[in-house]
């Protein structure tokens, strides 16, 4: 069969229409701005809407088309940027008081690449402060709400980007994924979200949370749009020493190759803590793979169960160092005090929110004298074990399948005062970050509460091609919007027929 990749989809379709002169970028951007104006007051996806800049940029794209030039594969497509991506002369806050008002003197590499591809940035999206969180509630600018149910969180930390795409504000958005911060909100908001192989997308200009785990990736309404965006933002960047200097998989062109003959492994441990209705959707997704000609088998990767603990030592340790620079000396907030050290303390105490402080302290502790070996050092060894576990699974499987999140979108405030409960939201997504592997969340029906469920596909390092091919298969076989998907007899009767919208 020929999955969705064959049919031009929203962002790419828009770009095609704009490049052919069929549509004008200014109209497309105007529609995006209008949608934002109408509903973002309620959802708070954006920290900053760049209306004037977007209009000017769209006009430039139209001018290029009129002049017979090619503005690029994302010509005129509105894109929302997570507010931890540096934009020259434009506020980049990481949703933190400590960076309020800071305007970077440079653009992130991905921002430059998007611009070169003709995309039009419409705004900077809300996020958990410094990407620390799974609900976009730790933002200093207030929470983002889930477009499917405004009493619920959009997930996080890239909740603003996920919700902006889900709400139709922009067909594309970029987020960053350190422990699931693209995939989990994508799942909770019912959109596609992808975390690339570590090193395939430059981190230059991404405000660091945990440097060895952070990757930038796309949100889109379709797998093809995500693939096309990955093709635009990926590739070697000499400004990032961890950027891979080899051809990045070009994925858009292979999308419709299907997965016949491949082996899809359903990871038992990823299903373990998940809600029954979520498990049911994943089993249905496995059937879709089987129907597409893949061999489906259940695999065990017991090491992934250790991921959460290792992650919550490694990521805070790196973060504690990465966030030391917010000291009130060179940029951002300063709270005056009589001496430099007291000024650092006053600034950081006032500038960081509770979750950021929690993680800085956790990481400082994990690295401190006397605890390094037991915590940080041990976590790095666990990381090795997780990589070995995946290697074993990939000896028999081409891709792995599991839920993106153990639950659907949870109510605002529910986990805010219970850090451990919040951290458990990332249990299914963290292992890919620790291993540096690519993974994608594809909407696959709804849970018993009518809220979106995301099916997560995982692939080995640089396995983006097979990952996107499998994602396209799931997308094509997913229950249509409004249909919860195959009712699982074991789900306990909570499944309703309510639509996602």
């Amino acid at each position: 069969m020929s999955p969705a990749g064959a049919t031009p989809a929203p962002a790419l379709a828009l770009a095609d229409a704009i490049r052919s002169g069929e549509r004008r970028a200014v109209e497309v951007v105007e529609a995006s701005l209008a949608a934002i104006a109408e509903r973002d007051g309620e959802l708070h996806c954006f920290n900053l809407v760049l209306a004037d800049q977007a209009r000017a940029r769209a006009a430039e794209v139209d001018r290029m088309v009129a002049a017979g030039e090619d503005p690029g594969p994302l010509a005129g497509v509105p894109v929302a940027l997570k507010d931890n991506l540096c934009t020259r002369g434009i506020d980049t806050t990481c949703s933190s008081r400590i960076l309020a008002g800071w305007r970077p003197p440079y653009d992130a590499t991905v921002v430059t690449r998007l611009a070169r591809a003709g995309a039009v940035v419409v705004g900077k999206t809300n996020m958990d402060e410094f990407a620390m969180g799974s609900s976009t509630e730790t933002s200093a600018t207030g929470p983002t709400r889930n477009p499917h149910d405004t009493s619920r969180v959009p997930g996080g930390s890239s909740g603003g980007s996920a919700a902006a795409v889900a709400a139709g504000f922009a067909p594309l958005a970029l987020g960053s994924d350190t422990g699931g911060s693209i995939r989990q909100p994508a799942a909770l908001c019912g959109v596609v979200g992808m975390k690339p192989t570590y090193g395939t997308v430059s981190r230059y200009g991404l405000v660091a949370f945990a440097s060895s785990l952070d990757q930038i990736g796309p949100f889109a309404t379709t797998v093809a749009d995500a693939a096309g965006t990955f093709d635009v933002i990926g590739g070697h960047d000499p400004a990032d020493s961890t950027s891979l200097d080899r051809p990045t998989p070009r994925v858009l062109s292979v999308l419709d190759e299907g997965i016949a003959g491949l082996t899809v492994g359903v990871v038992r441990e990823l299903l373990d803590g998940a809600d029954a209705d979520v498990v049911a959707r994943i089993r249905a997704a496995a059937e879709v793979c089987a129907a597409a000609g893949a061999r489906v088998e259940e695999v065990s990767v017991p090491e992934v169960a250790l991921g959460l603990s290792a992650y919550y030592l490694i990521a805070p340790a790196e973060a504690s160092s990465n966030l030391a620079r917010y000291d009130g000396v060179r940029y951002g907030l300063r709270v005056e005090a009589p001496d430099a050290a007291s000024m650092n303390v006053a600034t950081r105490t006032a500038g960081f929110g509770a979750e950021v402080k929690r993680r800085i302290m956790l990481g400082t502790y994990a690295l401190s004298a006397g605890y390094y070996d037991a915590y940080y050092g041990q976590a790095l060894r666990v990381r090795t074990r997780i990589i070995e576990g995946f290697e074993r699974a990939y000896r028999t499987c081409d891709v792995l399948l599991g839920p993106t999140s153990p639950t659907t979108a949870f109510p605002l405030g529910e986990r805010l005062d219970d850090p451990l409960a919040m951290y458990l939201s990332d249990v299914c997504t963290i292992p890919s970050n620790l291993a540096g592997h690519p993974a994608i969340s594809v909407p696959f029906g709804t849970g018993g509460d009518g809220l979106p469920v995301g099916a997560q596909l995982l692939a080995p390092a640089l396995g983006e091609s097979v990952l996107f091919r499998a994602a396209a298969v799931l997308e094509a076989g997913a229950p249509p919007a409004g249909d919860p998907g195959a009712v699982d007899p074991g789900a306990g009767g909570a499944v309703t027929g309510e639509g996602a919208r």
């Binding site: 800071w102 405000v207 660091a208 020493s241 030391a324 060179r330």
Partner: protein, 489 residues
């Protein structure tokens, strides 16, 4: 300061030398690495530690570090970078990127001119900090009202060279630092300018009762900005510790600051205040793994090191009979001349001049004493011209004073030494004039002449001086001496 005897005590010193590398750009970014520019002009997102910026390692800095390692006989190893975490306003990321448990160079040694050998534990790469100026109050850190930070120096590549605790005297500490500076300059890694901060020294000092006693508790002394400060501080600190111990006290492990004006060290902080640096592997960088081919390629670019250059001059002297016959060791004065000549980079001039036929001792002496007054110009001297000039001295056609005068002109403007001498009217004194002048002076100083005839050879100098005065330096000293001896009979 009195060096030397410590009343049965022995000092044990290890030095940590930070050397700024002479690269075009900084260690992790493309900002220019230059001294003295307008504040905060050589900065970018990386060396300002701006959010989102990432370091990329400078290949030339790595190769200069490898060159230093090669020159110090180190093993060059696969290496990694760590973050050393502490807050300080001159450090834009509030961590320093430095090599920690896997430095690029380990296990080397440095031989000093006196033949002693100091072990090198490691020589690793790290980044420099910005520069802080303290305003108000005394202009020093204590009592200042506020401080101003310039990040031009932030991210400049450093190699930190850590010696083994093999140094046993202040003079040896100074000799080590001087020799190391010579090596750093010779490798092209550094300009070795201590006054500009491109070479900075910290000293770890302890004392013990004799060479077999266990090491004592050490103190680290910071702010040693010159070789003189280093020697003074080490001597002071050793004596301070001895005094503490002899009066029944114990030495506390401390970091101390050298106060140059007061001539003493003062406490900066105690061991208990030591910072927990929370080192961990820098996730934004990848390992440096030099293979044999790369190491060899770097080694091939190395010039001759000071020790080899000194040995070359010693060999020249020996071959030439030196001061005390063929094969004899250089005199102490010649050792000093050799050190000066190598230090000022005049050794190629000496070698070339000797090759052109001038005696090694004369060449060395003239290079170290006369040419060295203008080292910059002397390095540009043509050895053949220099040889021609010294040849005129050897043959007695020019006096030492005249040689000096011609040399000054030769260094400034070049040209033919004989022509310069002629233009200055330095034609050799006619022999009969010299004989007549000596006879006149002997007659004028009968008492001195009698003492000379009675065997007081010092009087030869007196008469030579008188002849020189009478001839405006045109007489040849050797010829005068010969005439005096002839008259005495």
């Amino acid at each position: 300061m009195t060096g030397g005897d410590l009343g049965g005590w022995e000092m044990v010193v290890g030095l940590e030398v930070h050397c700024e590398l002479k690269t075009a750009t900084k260690l992790f970014c493309g900002c220019p690495n230059v001294f003295g520019d307008e504040p905060n002009t050589n900065v970018c997102p990386v060396c300002l530690g701006l959010p989102g910026s990432l370091p990329v390692l400078n290949q030339q800095a790595v190769e200069l570090a490898m060159a230093i390692g090669t020159a110090l006989g180190c093993e060059i190893r696969p290496s990694t970078f760590h973050r050393k975490n502490y807050f300080y306003p001159d450090m834009p990321k509030d961590y320093q990127i430095s090599q920690y448990d896997e430095p690029i160079n380990v296990d080397g040694h440095l031989e000093l001119p006196d033949g002693s050998v100091v072990g090198i534990v490691r020589a690793h790469l790290e980044e420099d900090t910005g520069k802080t100026t303290h305003a108000g109050g005394t202009g020093r850190i204590h009592g200042s009202d506020y401080s101003l930070v310039d990040y031009n120096r932030s991210g400049v590549p450093l190699v930190e060279i850590v010696s083994a605790p093999d140094i046993r005297s202040a003079a040896q500490a100074r000799a080590y630092a001087a020799e190391l500076r010579g090596v750093l300059v010779a490798t092209g890694a550094s300009d070795g300018r201590m006054e500009e901060g491109s070479m900075r020294v910290d000293a770890n000092v302890s004392v013990r009762r004799g060479p077999d006693a266990p090491f004592g508790t050490r103190c680290e002394i910071k702010n040693l900005n010159s070789l003189r400060s280093l020697a003074r501080a080490v001597e002071y600190e050793a004596r301070r510790q001895i005094e503490v111990l002899e009066s029944g006290g114990t030495v506390a492990q401390q970091t101390r600051h050298w106060d140059e004006d007061a001539g003493r060290t003062v406490t900066l902080r105690s061991k208990e205040e030591a910072t927990d640096y929370r080192y961990f592997l820098e996730p934004d960088l990848v390992p440096v793994v030099p293979d044999a081919q790369w190491i060899t390629a770097v080694a091939d670019t190395l010039g001759m090191l000071p020790a080899a250059r000194r040995a070359r001059l010693v060999d020249l002297l020996r071959a030439d009979g030196g001061a005390g016959g063929a094969g004899a060791a250089p005199t102490a004065a010649q050792q000093d001349q050799i050190a000066t000549v190598v230090d000022l980079g005049l050794d190629d001039l000496v070698v070339g001049t000797v090759a052109a036929g001038v005696a090694a001792p004369l060449t060395l002496a003239r290079a170290a004493n006369e040419a060295a007054t203008e080292p910059e110009l002397a390095r540009g001297l043509d050895p053949v011209a220099f040889a021609a000039l010294l040849g005129m001295e050897e043959s007695g056609s020019l006096s030492a004073t005249q040689v000096k005068s011609v040399l000054a002109e030769l260094m400034r403007s070049g040209g033919d030494p004989a022509a310069i001498a002629a233009a200055k009217g330095f034609e050799a004194l006619a022999e009969d004039t010299l004989v007549a002048t000596v006879a006149e002076l002997v007659a004028a100083h009968p008492d001195e002449w009698q003492r000379f005839c009675d065997g007081d050879d010092k009087l030869a100098g007196f008469f030579t001086g008188q002849v020189m005065k009478a001839t405006q330096g045109k007489a040849n000293g050797k010829a005068v001496a010969a005439e005096l001896r002839r008259l005495r009979g």
